[in-house]
Symmetry: C2
Subunit: 359 residues, 2 copies
Amino acid sequence: MSVRGSKVNGLMVTIRDVAKESGFSSTTVSIVLNNAPLARYIPAVTKKRIEKAAKKLGYRPNLFARSLRSKRSHTVGVMVFDMTDPYCTLILRGIENTLYQASYLPILTDVHNERSRFERYLEMLLDRRVEALIVLANWLFVDIDVLADLEKSSIPTAMIGRELKTDTISSVIVDNEMGAYAAVEHLHSLGHRKIAFIRGPKTLADSAPRWKGIRSFAKASELDLDPRLIVDLPESRDPISSFEAGYKLTEELIKQKRPFTALMAFDDMTAFGAIRALAKAGLRVPEHCSVVGFDDVAASSLYTPALTTVRQPMEAMGAMAVSIVVDGINSVQEKREVVAVHRKVAPELAVRESTRNLL
Amino acid sequence: MSVRGSKVNGLMVTIRDVAKESGFSSTTVSIVLNNAPLARYIPAVTKKRIEKAAKKLGYRPNLFARSLRSKRSHTVGVMVFDMTDPYCTLILRGIENTLYQASYLPILTDVHNERSRFERYLEMLLDRRVEALIVLANWLFVDIDVLADLEKSSIPTAMIGRELKTDTISSVIVDNEMGAYAAVEHLHSLGHRKIAFIRGPKTLADSAPRWKGIRSFAKASELDLDPRLIVDLPESRDPISSFEAGYKLTEELIKQKRPFTALMAFDDMTAFGAIRALAKAGLRVPEHCSVVGFDDVAASSLYTPALTTVRQPMEAMGAMAVSIVVDGINSVQEKREVVAVHRKVAPELAVRESTRNLL
DNA sequence: TCCCGAAGTTCGATTTAAATG
DNA sequence: GCATTTAAATCGAACTTCGGG
């Protein structure tokens, strides 16, 4: 058990204290404790004496001083566009865990979907010399300006949740098209033919590929897409609003009296809203109507009925973003060129209790 | 628009560059840019020239150097025992937001309920000279060792979610007793008399006061507490396990054939599990059985039926913890004594759709 | 004495160049 | 020349002290 935070008359123990205690110079102490190249020439006895002295005093190097010299902070900036979006939680866990293994610490910032806040936080992080940036672009439609600011920062940067083609910023996204395809396919295989769709807002980048996946399945299997059963989520920056919109749109869908046996929602929040509207109308899920979501947010498996949905491998995506930027940091250290990489990961259909076989 | 990260042949702009550019010494530059006391004596022209030079070069002070001198990091360590616990999200939001206003940055660590991880993270944070610590002790029964380690750190520390009486560590908790009291009272006022209870695990600090609140209401209003309708959650460190336990215990409760018209769960997760078990048994909420939870986790209002629950003012609690430690930091700066404060905040009953009037 | 500005020291660790036997 | 050790310079900002007008 090392005695942490030992002090010499109220002040922290410095390398000079260790030098004095061990009888060597601070140079030698530094070389030994960091196991620097020159440590090869230092006899074992010396090393032992120094290490003993350091331990005895509870010496801990001052990271400010070290960083000042090395220009390294061992810190990574994490920018979330909206923490309260349940989509974030597991991704953050993945980021944290992988950073931990690499001995980096995350500085977490929540931009609240506000541009000014984004700018201020970016400045603060850069001032602190974070060695890389991970941006969690959930929900918000990222405008070009944000990307430009990010590029200017000139440190390794990865964005999760938004498809990019830049050669400066890396990206990690889920294969939206594949996920949506799998979801309709699932409904189709259960015998559903009259399917209602709540699509994402047009301004949101995820919306188009998901819809593309649906159309592509429809074409392949001759599923009829009834335009009157297709509605769009309104644009909004609030994650919870998709619940309310899902509720309202489903109410309208029901009021239309055009029958459907299944509903595919843009995401899980929307699906929750839809289920509530269905329940309000006396329609049980999945008995009267099957529902599928997208994301596999934590609440989905806890819902009653447990939601069938397309799972984004969120923890893995967070981990992936970290390895990308850590590689970037290493490249910078070794003065190699940093190349942006773009990963599109496969989602997985989580079949639970909100969908049932029609037969 | 300031040009961020400007460089002079690949290196950052230093105060000396600004000195050279403006024609003054670095001392004067420092005084002007920091608006130090001595700046009073410096003529406006000089100031203007220096500021112009700084802006032109895009000067940003090196925080490593500044921290080395000032011994301040403007950083606060946040330790969460388990990020994936939905209880965390809003508290973190409150912490982040209040820290932002005070110009501190949070370093977020997730201890995964593991002691070794807690120790390593604490050491890393202390090495980085975080100026305060906020510990989010959700779920885990905090052992004495953890507290001892925290006390040793000798920086302002606040713990959220665990009642403390120390005079070194501050605490912010919800009034569990009052919350539980309000919840049963609500059920009672709706005409419920046969109420089942799923209590928290004995090892969890929140369990006892919540039960106390229930007993105290029962005594006051002569409500009969049927021992056969009272069950306990098993001990566990996994937040999701309370969902499963809630499910199983409710199944058993139903199997018993001892009728109850309402169920009060230890927390929202447990309530979700209970609702699922009820549904599985063909019992609708709230038609056949009312259910109330505790916490008001984000998912609660999205659930179908929307869960009636006791709301912890989580965002406010996070904010409160921050103001406590920021006060502490100021005390340290001004060499005043840091005194721990203990706040118990009132919860609020959120009446929604999972409870109904029996009449 | 007052105003303005600069030279030099400090914070703590790392590293280069050099000095010992 | 070799093994072993160290004085001195450096990183960038802030503060103390001092001098000139």
